[in-house]
């Protein structure tokens, strides 16, 4: 029998590291003091754009709506030359095929939510079927939600096993695990959920579904980045981060980028390891890029709303 290496020994999830609320909030606020000007601003805006997961997750989504969004992903603002595309389009599983077709030939990936998104209140079998369906339709990435009820009940093994099972069902698709931090109630629990997700095989950990307030905040993202850092030091395995919901302005996105740079450094500074889950952020970034290039702001009416 193969002996397990230390990295494969699981920690006791009842005893994960604590987070000091005042301290984490102060540290997060400190990143907002960095002044990003000139070429560093232009470079950062391009980077932010390339990290966006353009998202539509509504009950009223249709094939047409998804196709429009995919067209937007491929043609963010054709008036501007040499701008990157977004990282991915994020949709419900039943729209994966439509999105995949609409994005054919581009580098934009298709991400699908799964596992009874957004509440996660269903059976393991249904969640697995949901995931397998999304993957079979062609999803490059799967955004799952954890069972928050079980987590609050202290059934960490259940949460862990579920994530591990979904990971297996993903096959080659990368798995993003949504903690829904707005329902977890404390930074300590965000830290604990992050560790469970990473040890269970998450490729990314993600703050929110976007359906619950508060969604992503800088302090909560910092707690998760620090968990990623500790996991990396312990196991050597790199895990990505995706704050989602509530990031709609470039300035805030730049603060997140500063936080990423000073917490995890160079190896995470690409859309392979960091994403913004957002729908309206892209237009604000485009507006800023145009302003940086021409010196003038153009009204919002010039930027397409799909």
């Amino acid at each position: 029998m193969k002996r397990s290496s230390p990295a494969q020994i699981l920690p006791d999830f009842r005893r994960t590291r604590v987070v000091d609320q005042t301290g984490i909030e102060e540290r997060a606020a400190r990143f907002t003091k960095r002044s990003i000007k000139q070429s560093s601003k232009r470079q950062a805006l391009d980077q932010v754009l390339s990290m966006i997961d353009l998202t539509t997750l509504e009950g009223k989504d249709t094939d047409q709506k998804v196709r429009h969004l995919c067209y937007k992903a491929r043609h963010l603002h054709d008036e501007l030359c040499n701008i990157p595309t977004v990282a991915a389009v994020c949709v419900y599983p039943n729209f994966v095929r439509v999105a995949k077709k609409a994005l054919e030939g581009s580098s934009v990936k298709v991400a699908s939510v799964a596992t009874a998104f957004p509440s996660g209140q269903s059976t393991r079998a249904i969640k697995l079927a949901d995931t397998r369906f999304a993957v079979s339709e062609g999803a490059d990435e799967v955004d799952m939600v954890i069972s928050r009820g079980k987590f609050h009940a202290g059934e960490y093994n259940f949460v862990f096993d579920e994530i591990a099972a979904i990971k297996e069902a993903c096959g080659k698709a990368r798995l993003k695990v949504i903690l829904e931090t707005g329902e977890l109630g404390s930074f300590d629990k965000v830290r604990r959920a992050s560790e469970i997700a990473m040890y269970a095989g998450a490729d990314f950990i993600k703050t929110s579904t976007g359906k619950i307030q508060p969604a992503a905040t800088m302090p909560v993202t910092l707690v998760m980045l620090e968990a990623i850092r500790d996991f990396y030091y312990k196991t050597g395995k790199q895990v990505g981060m995706k704050p989602a919901g509530g990031i709609s302005k470039s300035k805030l996105a730049l603060h997140y980028l500063v936080m990423l740079r000073e917490t995890l450094g160079q190896d995470w500074m690409s859309n392979e390891w960091f994403r913004f889950g957002a729908s309206s952020l892209a237009n604000d970034v485009l507006m800023q890029i145009r302003k940086e290039r021409t010196g003038q702001y153009q009204s919002a009416a010039y930027f397409s709303v799909d």
Partner: protein
């Protein structure tokens, strides 16, 4: 899973461009006289000395040097203002003047911050977000006490002492001026204040504000000069109260000088604070607190957490995290809004710091400094940390007053209390633990004037500050900060 543990790389492709604050936001005269009796007066010494920007060694201005005659003139002015105006004035009226000074400081906040950074070398982010607002807050706080002293000391009678001679250091020039002047005025005393010779300009700007605020002439006198001026102030027979912040060495000389006189004194002197991290602490936040505790203001902080005690079980991980964090600190132009660590205040202080770094190396401790390119001109020292350090090392025992951290380890609560208290100083300490009962146990047994729990270097005008042992006596700030300026019967 990957086996090879890599390290994090902070030399990122994406770098921040310079974001300098504009020096033109400040008006600095080519030369300053002495502010005595509400007017700018030429020094009888006839002498002026240059004050420079420690980040580029360029001259900023010329400042008057005061001799004994100048000191005497300032004290006489303060005495006259005390007897004829200030002690007779209704307390509510005194409060109005102090409120006015506070408001005007806020109005001129940007200019004050720029000058503080140009002359002191501290990052503009700190002058802007800490020094100036905290100084204004101090005036606001004590302005509120001016007409409420009967409530501060119920069933007692209080009276001002008279003329206070106040001598302040170069690490927080404006803030220390506020700490000294605000409670003295609120309690009805008049003031002769001397800033340190390397950092006179914000005190002189404050004199301009005081002049503009129409404070009665002579209530606050600001004179400049070096150590000899301070000696003349301490020895002047008509001074009732000495308030000094500075080195323990000078504090001892002052105590000798005023022995046998009826002068009151408060001394806020050196420190060598222990910052203690237990294994159950919120580690990443503790790392941040340790960094802010020792590298804030280039370590020119009397309460800096310069001795770090780590519980052995977390020491290795903690030091790794500390190095990661220190690697992201930006050292350089203090006027750049992104700078974390600015210039060392003077050549003298830089020499002291470098001497101690040599001592640390000779004692066999392992040194870590992040790779950073330092400007050619000016006085610079990168953030430094020493590991493999023992209690008997000099870098653990003596105050360095620079960005140098000595890291020690411990095993039990009792052991770390004994080690933390094993110092002639007793100004501040920090405790990092998730366990509430341990915080109370530690704070009760640590002999330090301020003990921070799960934070460090937090200041508020309402909170008293001061030391035990060779860190001095008397308290500044809060209700406690009123008593050293009052006769309480």
């Amino acid at each position: 899973m990957a086996k090879k543990i890599k390290t994090l790389r902070f030399d990122t492709d994406w770098q921040y461009d310079p974001a300098p604050e504009s020096a033109s936001a400040a008006k600095i005269n080519a030369q300053y006289d002495l502010f005595i009796d509400g007017r700018w007066q030429k020094p009888q010494s006839g002498k002026y000395f240059e004050t420079i920007n420690p980040a580029n060694e360029k001259t900023l201005s010329r400042v008057a040097g005061s001799n004994e005659k100048d000191v005497d003139r300032a004290v006489r002015s303060a005495r006259q203002a005390y007897e004829k105006v200030w002690k007779k004035m209704a307390p509510a009226e005194r409060g109005k003047y102090i409120f006015r000074i506070a408001r005007m400081m806020q109005e001129k906040a940007r200019e004050l911050a720029v000058i503080e950074t140009l002359e002191g070398g501290k990052p503009i982010r700190e002058s802007r977000d800490f020094d100036v607002p905290t100084a204004a807050q101090h005036f606001f706080y004590y302005a509120g006490w001016a007409d409420k002293l009967d409530y501060a000391f119920p069933n007692k009678k209080v009276a001002p002492l008279g003329v206070a001679a106040q001598i302040i250091p170069w690490n927080f020039p404006l803030l220390m001026a506020a700490w000294k002047i605000a409670p003295a005025l609120a309690t009805g005393n008049t003031v002769v204040l001397k800033p340190a010779e390397t950092t006179s300009l914000t005190a002189l700007k404050l004199a301009e504000i005081i002049q503009e605020a129409d404070l009665p002439h002579g209530v606050v006198n600001i004179i400049t000069g070096a150590g000899k001026t301070g000696v003349a102030m301490v020895n002047h027979p008509d001074v009732n109260k000495i308030a000094f912040t500075g080195s323990t060495e000078v504090g001892k000389i002052i105590q000798h000088s005023i022995a046998g006189t009826n002068k009151r004194s408060t001394l806020e002197l050196g420190g060598k604070a222990a910052n203690i991290v237990f294994e159950d602490a919120a580690i990443d936040q503790a790392v941040e607190g340790v960094v802010n505790g020792v590298y804030f203001n280039q370590g020119h902080v009397c309460c800096a957490g310069s001795r770090l005690y780590l519980q052995e079980s977390i020491a290795k991980e903690f030091i790794q995290k500390l190095k990661d964090r220190v690697a992201t600190l930006i050292v350089g132009d203090p006027m750049d809004k992104n700078t974390d660590i600015g210039a060392i205040n003077s050549k003298n202080q830089l020499d002291t710091i470098l001497k101690y770094i040599q001592i640390g190396k000779k004692e066999g401790s392992a040194i870590y400094q992040p790779a950073c390119s330092l400007p050619k001109k000016g006085f610079w020292c990168p953030p430094t940390l020493f590991t493999d350090v023992a209690q008997s090392n000099r870098i653990v025992q003596e105050e360095i007053f620079g960005p140098v951290l000595a890291i020690l380890t411990f095993r039990t609560d009792n052991e770390v209390i004994e080690k933390a208290n094993n110092t002639p100083y007793g100004l501040s300490a920090g405790v990092w633990t998730d366990k509430g009962s341990r915080i109370f146990n530690m704070t009760r047994r640590l002999r330090a004037g301020v003990v921070w729990a799960n934070t460090f270097n937090k200041f508020d005008a309402a909170s008293p500050f001061g030391g035990y042992k060779e860190s001095g006596f008397g308290r500044e700030g809060g209700l406690h900060g009123l008593t050293p300026y009052l006769e309480i019967i």
